[in-house]
C-alpha cells in the first residue's frame, strides 16, 4: 500500500470528521437564509450597499459557529441572494476565524490583547479586501446571479411544517451535491500536505526570530483546512513554544479562514482575473500585517522552545520506515475525536444518504410550494419570514453562547475531570505505558484550558496566579510528554519530572479551588 496515498486519505478523513459539526451548522444557516429570511432580507442582514456592510458581515461571521467548510453552503446562498461581493468575502474570511467558543479559548492562550489584536487585524483585513473586491467583482443582475436562479425568491412562499421539510431536503441535497463536492475539495488540501510533507517536517519552521517564518506560514496555510478551535489550539502551542507571532496570525487568517474550496468557488464565480487581484491583495495584506506584528507581539522573556508539534497534523502521520497495516492506519486515522465530531459525522452520513435518495427520486423542495394561506388551519398564524429567520439566527447565536457554558464547565466539574485524568496519566507514566500516558496528558492539557475559560466565564477574570499556575503545569506536562517519547525510555528521568509535576499540580489545583 502506498504510504503517500494512505497519508493523504488519513489526513482527509480526519479533516472530514472535525468539519462535520460546523458543516451541519453551515447547511442549516444556508437553509434558514433561503427559506426563512429570503434574498431581500439576507441582503439587508449583510448591510445592503451601505458603508457598514463590511464590518457588519465581519461581526455576523464572528458570531456564527462555522468553519471554512461550513461557510461554503452559506456563501453559495449569499451569492444566490446577490449579497454585495465585498460583504461576501468579509463573511467568508471572518466567519471561520472566530466563534464564541474559540474566542474564549483564545483569550486564555496569551495576553488577551494579543487575541484582541488578531481579531482587529482580521477586521482591517476583511474591510480593505472587501473594498478592493467590491471594485473588481461585479454583482450579477437579478435573474442572472445566484447558484441556480432567483426564481423562488419571488415564487410562492413555503410556510409551516412544509418549510421545515423543505429545509431538510435542501440541506440533504446540498450535501449530496455541490456543498459535498466542495467539502471534499477543501479536505483534499490536507491530503496534499499529508502526502507531500515528511513526518515532523514543520516542527522547526516557525521560530520566533526566523525572518522567513511568517512568509513560510503564509505559503503553508493556503491549502490548510483548520476549524476555529484547531487554529486556536495551534495558536496556543505557538505561544507556549514562543513561535513567530506573525506566523501565528497568518495561520489564523489563512489556515482557518480559507481552504482550497473557498478559492475554487471564488474562481468559478468571478473568473481568474478578478480572483487573481483578490488573492494577491489577500496574500500581500496578510504578509504586511504578519510582519508588522511579528516583533511587537513577542512576550518579554519569551523562551523559544526550538520546535513545535502544533503543525504535525499537516505532515504525513507516519514516520519513515513505518510498515503500514490496517490496525495502525485505523488507530492513526481515528485519533481521539470529540463526541460532537463523531456525532456530527454520523448525522452527516445520514443526511448525505438522504440527499442521494432525494436526487435519485428527483425530489426537491419545489413540491412544497403549493401551500397557500387559504389552506391553513384556524389556529395557524402566518409569521413574517424575516421574524422567523432572524429568530432562528439569533437562536443559533444564543445556542452557541449557551454552548460555551456547557463546553467550559465550572471549576468544580473541571477539577473532577482533572482528578481522573491525572490519575490515569501519572500512573501510566510511572508504569511506562507510554501510549496511555500520552493520551491522558493531552486530556489534562485540554482540561487545564477549559478550567481557565470556565472560570473566566463565571467569575469574569482569571487571576494572574491562576494563569501562571496553568502555564506552569502545561509546560511540565509537555516536558513529561517529551521524556515519554524519548527512545529508549529513561524511567529515572520520567520519575524526576513526575516528582516536579506533583508539586506544581497541587499548587495549580489549589489556585482554582
Amino acid at each position: 500500500m502506498s504510504l503517500i496515498l494512505v497519508s493523504a486519505i488519513t489526513r482527509m478523513f480526519q479533516g472530514l470528521v472535525v468539519s462535520a459539526p460546523t458543516l451541519l451548522v453551515g447547511l442549516l444557516i444556508a437553509g434558514v437564509l433561503r427559506y426563512y429570511l429570503g434574498p431581500a432580507d439576507t441582503r439587508r442582514l449583510f448591510g445592503g450597499d451601505s458603508i457598514r456592510g463590511l464590518p457588519q458581515a465581519w461581526l455576523i461571521g464572528m458570531l456564527l459557529p462555522v468553519c471554512s467548510i461550513g461557510v461554503l453552503p452559506i456563501l453559495r446562498e449569499l451569492h444566490r441572494a446577490r449579497v454585495r461581493p465585498g460583504a461576501m468575502t468579509a463573511f467568508a474570511l471572518s466567519a471561520p476565524l472566530f466563534n464564541p467558543l474559540s474566542l474564549l479559548y483564545g483569550l486564555t492562550l496569551s495576553r488577551p490583547i494579543v487575541i484582541i489584536s488578531f481579531a482587529l487585524a482580521s477586521l482591517v483585513l476583511v474591510t480593505v479586501l472587501g473594498t478592493i473586491w467590491d471594485r473588481y467583482a461585479k454583482r450579477e443582475p437579478s435573474g442572472l446571479g445566484g447558484e441556480d436562479s432567483d426564481a423562488d425568491a419571488t415564487g410562492p412562499a413555503i410556510i409551516g411544517l412544509r418549510r421545515m421539510l423543505a429545509l431538510l431536503i435542501f440541506s440533504a441535497r446540498e450535501l449530496a451535491g455541490p456543498s459535498g463536492a466542495l467539502t471534499l475539495l477543501a479536505v483534499s488540501g490536507l491530503g496534499i500536505l499529508g502526502a507531500a510533507l515528511p513526518y515532523g517536517a514543520l516542527q522547526a519552521s516557525f521560530e520566533m526570530n526566523d525572518p522567513w517564518a511568517p512568509a513560510r506560514m503564509t505559503l503553508l496555510a493556503v491549502p490548510v483546512y483548520a476549524t476555529p478551535m484547531m487554529a486556536m489550539g495551534q495558536l496556543g502551542m505557538m505561544f507556549v513554544h514562543s513561535n513567530s507571532p506573525g506566523a501565528a496570525l497568518s495561520m489564523l487568517l489563512l489556515g482557518a479562514g480559507l481552504n482550497l474550496a473557498t478559492l475554487f468557488w471564488f474562481v468559478r464565480r468571478y473568473g481568474y482575473r478578478a480572483i487573481s487581484i483578490w488573492f494577491v491583495s489577500l496574500i500581500s495584506l496578510v504578509l504586511l500585517v504578519s510582519y508588522a506584528i511579528d516583533r511587537p507581539l513577542i512576550l518579554p522573556g519569551a523562551e523559544p522552545a526550538g520546535h513545535t508539534h502544533a503543525f504535525d497534523v499537516y505532515a504525513t502521520p507516519f514516520g519513515p520506515g513505518t510498515s503500514l497495516n490496517w490496525a495502525l492506519i485505523r488507530e492513526t486515522a481515528t485519533r481521539p475525536f470529540h463526541i460532537f465530531e463523531v456525532a456530527g459525522l454520523a448525522l452527516l452520513g445520514v443526511l448525505a444518504a438522504l440527499g442521494l435518495l432525494f436526487h435519485w427520486l428527483k425530489l426537491d423542495e419545489t413540491r412544497f410550494q403549493r401551500e397557500s394561506p387559504a389552506e391553513l388551519a384556524a389556529y395557524d398564524r402566518v409569521v413574517p419570514r424575516p421574524v422567523l429567520g432572524l429568530t432562528l439566527l439569533g437562536g443559533l447565536i444564543a445556542f452557541s453562547i449557551v454552548g460555551c457554558f456547557a463546553y467550559y464547565p465550572p471549576a468544580k466539574v473541571c477539577l473532577e475531570q482533572i482528578s481522573d485524568a491525572r490519575g490515569e496519566a501519572y500512573t501510566a507514566a510511572t508504569s511506562g505505558n507510554v501510549e496511555h500516558a500520552l493520551h491522558w496528558i493531552k486530556q489534562l492539557e485540554d482540561w487545564s484550558r477549559k478550567l481557565e475559560v470556565g472560570t473566566f466565564l463565571r467569575k469574569g477574570e482569571v487571576r494572574p496566579y491562576q494563569r501562571m499556575q496553568g502555564k506552569l503545569i502545561r509546560k511540565k506536562l509537555e516536558l513529561l510528554e517529551h521524556e515519554l517519547e524519548h527512545e529508549p525510555l529513561e524511567p529515572e528521568e520520567v520519575s524526576e519530572i513526575l516528582r516536579q509535576l506533583y508539586a506544581a499540580d497541587q499548587r495549580w489545583r489549589d489556585a482554582f479551588r
Binding site: 510533507l197 522573556g301 494572574p464
Partner: protein, 155 residues
Amino acid sequence: MMSHPAFARQLVSLVIISVALTGCFGGPEADHHEPVEHFVPDHWPADLLDAAAKVAERASALASQSTESPTDGSGSDRRPMIERELRDVVGWVPEIAADTPLTEAQWMVVHEASEAMSNRLKTIRRPMDEETLRAIDEYRRLLVETSETLLGASR
C-alpha cells in the same frame, strides 16, 4: 455554468499550485523522527536567588561601563545582549516564583515588582541612570528576601 473541461483544468491548477507551495517545506534535515528537546537558555535562573544574582550581575555590567561599551574580547558590542538577557531574566521571575511554595499573596508581590521592572527596562538609557540602578537594586533585594522567606519556611 462552467464546462467540465474548464472545471477539471481549474482543479488541476489548484492541485499543482498546492503541491508547488508545499515544496517550500521539509527537506532532508526535516525528515527525521527524533523528538526534539526543549531548548533552555543559558541564562535561565535555577531559582529566585540565582535570578537575583543574574539581575545584579547584568545591571553591574551595564553600569560599570557606562561610557565604554562592554565587549566580548573580539571588539563587538555586548551591551544589547546584556540588556536583552536582563529583560529576559526579569520576565522569567514570575514563572520561577510560581514554581515555589510561595502563597498567592507573596507571589503577587514578586509578580507586580517584575511587571514594573519589565516596563522600566523597555528602554534602558546609556549610561544607565541612577534611578534605574536603584530600582534594580530594590528589585534584587526583594528577590533575595523572598528566597530567604522560602528557605525559612522549608526549615
